[in-house]
């Protein structure tokens, strides 16, 4: 690959990444429970995406492709490092507060999401945060539509229960 081609790829990749970098970063952050590994995984996702950008199938949605890379890296991380140094959502200082009062419902939802299995948590955030369809989540995670619907149903029930108990 000559230098000109690399530069062209770099510009094209940067342009494609720009609109999705925030949802991608937040997806990784949420899926990894605000772990300190978030930055490493995000950085590695971008580098991997760029490295294989030449092989990216232009017929495929770029966002789905990048999330698939992130999904694989998150999965690797879960297998390799069982213990994560993570912080609670409250500690992360990202909870919107109204008049200095922290929104307890959001805390409950995120606390319930943290209790989900890693794979389920990933599906939960892909659907509820990133607004992917069930079919797109299937492409990213390799799970069947039935499994995804089941996972979402379970997550919903768990959160509903938690909110009912605490309200």
């Amino acid at each position: 690959m000559n230098m000109k081609k690399i530069e062209t790829d770099e510009i094209a990749f940067s342009a494609c990444v720009e609109p999705i970098k925030k949802p991608l970063y937040n997806f990784i952050r949420k899926t990894l429970d605000y772990s300190i590994d978030t930055d490493d995984v995000f950085q590695d996702t971008l580098l991997k995406g760029f490295r294989y950008f030449h092989a990216y199938d232009r017929d495929r949605d770029f966002k789905t492709w990048m999330f698939t890379i992130a999904h694989n890296l998150v999965k690797s991380l879960y297998v390799l490092r069982k213990a994560h140094a993570s912080v609670s959502l409250e500690e992360s200082g990202e909870i919107p507060s109204e008049g200095g009062k922290i929104d307890s419902e959001i805390l409950e939802i995120y606390a319930a999401a943290q209790q989900l299995k890693p794979r389920h948590r990933e599906v939960f955030f892909l659907y509820y945060y990133n607004d992917f369809t069930v079919s797109e989540i299937g492409q990213i995670t390799g799970l069947t539509k039935t499994t995804i619907k089941f996972v979402l149903h379970q997550a919903r029930q768990k959160i509903k229960k938690k909110l009912e108990v605490n309200l």
């Binding site: 970098k21 930055d39 590695d44 760029f50 999965k75 690797s76 959001i106 509820y128 945060y129």
Partner: protein, 121 residues
């Protein structure tokens, strides 16, 4: 999937929490760092997806390779052969103390095992 009111409520709540991408994670900066020290990020995360999968694949590949080798070996391994040797090869052979000029060998490995020696004259 049909979106219920609870779904919409969850989406709204979940999306209300998000953070900006830190400045040091801008792609151009990451790329520059990579250009300055190639390979710097190679070990951030291993390329492997699931190490145990590689172990299983490796074990399966090794088993298949051994099976293939055994199969090939069975194809090329000669059965028991019977072959007469004469001349120099039998210069030192003897049967019951009498020198023999021909021996007949019946073996899988003619170099190693002589199971029968016959006096020819």
């Amino acid at each position: 999937m049909k979106s219920t009111s609870f779904d919409r409520y969850l989406k709204k709540r979940v999306r209300s929490v998000e953070s900006e991408v830190p400045g040091h994670l801008e792609f151009s900066l990451i790329k520059n760092k990579l250009n300055e020290s190639p390979g710097a990020f190679e070990n951030v995360l291993p390329l492997t997806r699931r190490p145990y999968r590689h172990f299983v694949y490796g074990a399966a590949a090794a088993a298949a390779a051994i099976a293939a080798l055994l199969f090939l070996f069975s194809l090329f391994q000669p059965g028991i052969v019977e072959k007469p040797y004469t001349g120099d090869e039998v210069r030192f052979a003897s049967v019951e103390g009498v020198p023999a000029d021909t021996i007949r060998i019946q073996t899988n490995n003619p170099d190693m095992v002589i199971i029968w020696v016959e006096k020819n004259k």
